[in-house]
């Protein structure tokens, strides 16, 4: 029974987070367990989590996308550029930002699925190209965005900032649909055995194309949320986001071989990293320790998995 709980990452990680939270509440009773702190943690991880949902789907099908960090920066910068310099109305600029991100994903997906380019090389190249585009569009960054654009992220619902709600909706909807629809569940088969999936009548290439468009659209949305939250578009934002997201997703139960993982795991992985980061800030532990500790935790998590599988 206990082994069963621990071999399911969603439970084991959830329990670990609760345990960590309780421990932190005991050590920092005035600063950790407050509504303000919890909503701050969630707000800070919402951008990563939205991208992580897409990354989870990709890793379930056995590939990953390194260009998402750049897409986050690009969509924010492009939307801000359209708003600030060309005075586009907010909805139009949003659609343009999302659509261009989807196009980037489409290019990635087409090259990977239909021309057979290795996903790592394709998305690595795209990472540089899109980062360059972001710099080209925004220069040193764009400040002073319109009020209604900023309201997208800065509004609150029930005292909680909107990005948290967007994140919860995206995680909830994608998790439900991935578990219950024939369309999204196909990714498990593609990740399990691509050739067998093809012979089972699944159009693997179209699904791959879709998954890259999907993650790029999510990254585009995340970039818009980030720009709206900061009230400014930064061409340097989203640096290192891709690796952070992949880490969160692997902590959340995905494997690089594909075939395993649940969408909820993406949220839990990101939450775990967010709580660790928050505790370090509260405990005043410097940034580089955070990276060391997260690295150790990742290795530990994977080792525990291996040990459980062996038994």
């Amino acid at each position: 029974m206990i082994r069963k709980i621990f071999s399911n990452r969603v439970y084991s990680l959830g329990l670990t987070i609760i345990f960590m939270g309780l421990l932190a509440s005991v050590v920092f009773p005035t600063t950790f367990p407050t509504f303000q702190n919890f909503s701050q943690i969630l707000l800070n991880l919402s951008i990563d989590t939205i991208v992580a949902v897409g990354m989870m789907l990709l890793l379930i099908s056995g590939v990953f996308d390194l260009s998402v960090g750049s897409v986050v920066a690009f969509s924010g910068c492009l939307t801000a550029y359209l708003l600030f310099f060309l005075h586009w109305p907010v909805p139009m600029a949003l659609i343009a930002g999302l659509f261009s991100s989807a196009v980037i994903g489409g290019i990635n997906g087409y090259f990977i699925a239909y021309l057979g380019i290795n996903p790592m090389i394709q998305t690595l190249a795209m990472m540089g190209i899109v980062r360059g585009l972001a710099l080209l569009v925004s220069g040193a960054g764009i400040q002073g965005l319109p009020y209604w654009f900023n309201a997208i992220s800065q509004s609150k619902l029930l005292g909680v900032q909107m990005p948290i709600w967007y994140m919860l909706c995206i995680v909830g909807a994608t998790a439900y649909l991935t578990a219950n629809t024939t369309f999204l569940k196909r990714f498990y088969f593609i990740g399990g055995n691509e050739k067998a999936a093809e012979l089972s009548g699944i159009d693997v290439r179209r699904m791959k194309l879709f998954s890259f468009v999907f993650i790029a659209s999510l990254a585009g949305f995340a970039g818009i949320l980030l720009a709206s939250r900061l009230g400014a578009a930064l061409p340097t934002s989203g640096r290192g986001l891709e690796l952070r997201v992949i880490t969160a997703v692997i902590l959340g139960g995905a494997s690089l071989q594909g075939g395993t993982g649940k969408i909820q795991g993406a949220l839990l992985g990101a939450l775990f990293m967010g709580v660790v980061a928050n505790i370090m800030v509260i405990a005043r532990i410097s940034g580089y320790w955070q990276e060391i500790i997260l690295g150790i935790i990742l290795i530990l998590a994977v080792c525990i998995d291996k040990a459980l599988q062996k038994n």
């Binding site: 710099l135 220069g139 930064l234 340097t236 980061a277 509260i282």
Partner: protein, 336 residues
């Protein structure tokens, strides 16, 4: 599927009616709140939030001076922020720190986008000082730093002198950072006045020595008659110098750049680099911390109640000035 649809409607209804929009106007400097200060002195803590905490330039200057200050004053200090250059992560850290209510916040002004986080800290009643680059659209209580436009100007003027006002000149730095862009502007404004000078390009060395060296090598082969290169980040100088030395063009290609790490000073001494436009980074954080301390302890009272009067007892903007290092005075800095 029914419950799903209901859930969707319920949520959209809720967001439509329950949505709380952000305040309309981001008023600047009209509500400069000086904190109501009831904290006991023994719980006093000053927190620095930067980005790229492990960058040697920051560690050796900003952070070293801040640590020294904390030891001298006998107060607790903490240095936080992401290990890499990641502004959103710095903003996240600032916002998480606000909840822990430190006595004062010393913030590296890395990007205008951190304005809102600064405003949150100010609104929460935490004395907040920005250093390095100013965040003009924020409610920060004080700013200390260098004027990057002047850094560009100083490099430009020296370059004109070194090249006699003619020849091809290139410059590089980290593209997309507002302070660098200010510096580039300062440089170009000077060079513009000298028609004998052609600017061959603006390059992104991505804050990496290797990248700077590569760009320089390519430049030298594309323009064998290159007269000078200006660098704007800490790693530009060493990278440019490396390639210039390898091409045996020392002194033929003039180099001006920023920062005065031992490596830079050594290159000036060797005569590879002709000018360093140095910043007084130690002063940013030392006096920044001092400002916070004065604000917390109300060292100088300007009225019967500064808070009600809506003023702070700090200088609003401090320019710490520049250090000009050339072959003549480099020895003095080396023996420090």
């Amino acid at each position: 599927m029914k419950p799903l649809i209901w859930l969707f409607f319920a949520f959209s209804g809720l967001s439509f009616f329950g949505c709380e929009l952000p305040p309309r106007q981001q008023e600047v400097s009209s509500q400069v709140v000086a904190p109501s200060n009831n904290q006991a002195i023994d719980k006093e803590e000053y927190v620095m939030v930067t980005t790229a905490v492990s960058m040697p330039l920051y560690v050796n200057h900003d952070q070293a001076a801040f640590r020294r200050w904390g030891k001298k004053k006998g107060v607790k200090i903490s240095i936080l922020g992401p290990a890499d250059w990641d502004v959103p992560a710095q903003i996240n850290t600032i916002e998480e720190v606000i909840g822990t209510r430190p006595s004062g916040l010393l913030i590296n002004g890395t990007d205008p986008a951190i304005a809102q986080a600064i405003n949150k800290a100010v609104a929460a009643g935490i004395p907040t000082v920005v250093y390095d680059s100013d965040i003009p659209n924020s409610n920060r209580h004080a700013f200390l730093g260098t004027n990057w436009y002047e850094i560009g100007q100083m490099q430009g003027l020296e370059m004109v002198k070194l090249t006699g006002g003619k020849g091809k000149i290139a410059y590089m730095g980290i593209l997309g950072l507002s302070n660098m862009e200010d510096g580039f502007r300062g440089l170009l404004d000077v060079l513009k006045k000298h028609p004998g000078i052609t600017v061959v390009g603006k390059y992104d060395d991505k804050a990496s020595v290797e990248e700077a060296a590569k760009i320089t090598a390519d430049l030298i082969s594309a323009h064998p008659d290159l007269a000078g290169i200006c660098g704007f980040d800490s790693n530009s100088g060493p990278g440019i110098a490396l390639s210039v030395k390898e091409a045996k063009k020392v002194n033929k290609i003039k180099i001006t750049t920023v920062d005065w790490e031992p490596e830079h000073l050594q290159l000036v001494k060797e005569g590879v680099i002709q000018l360093l436009a140095g910043q007084k980074r130690e002063l940013f954080t030392w006096y920044g911390a001092e400002f916070l301390y004065d604000m917390v302890h109300k060292t100088n009272r300007l009225s019967s109640n500064d808070q009600r009067a809506g003023i702070t007892n700090l200088p609003t903007t401090v320019n710490t000035g520049l250090i000009k290092i050339t072959k003549e005075n480099v020895g003095i800095f080396l023996s420090k």
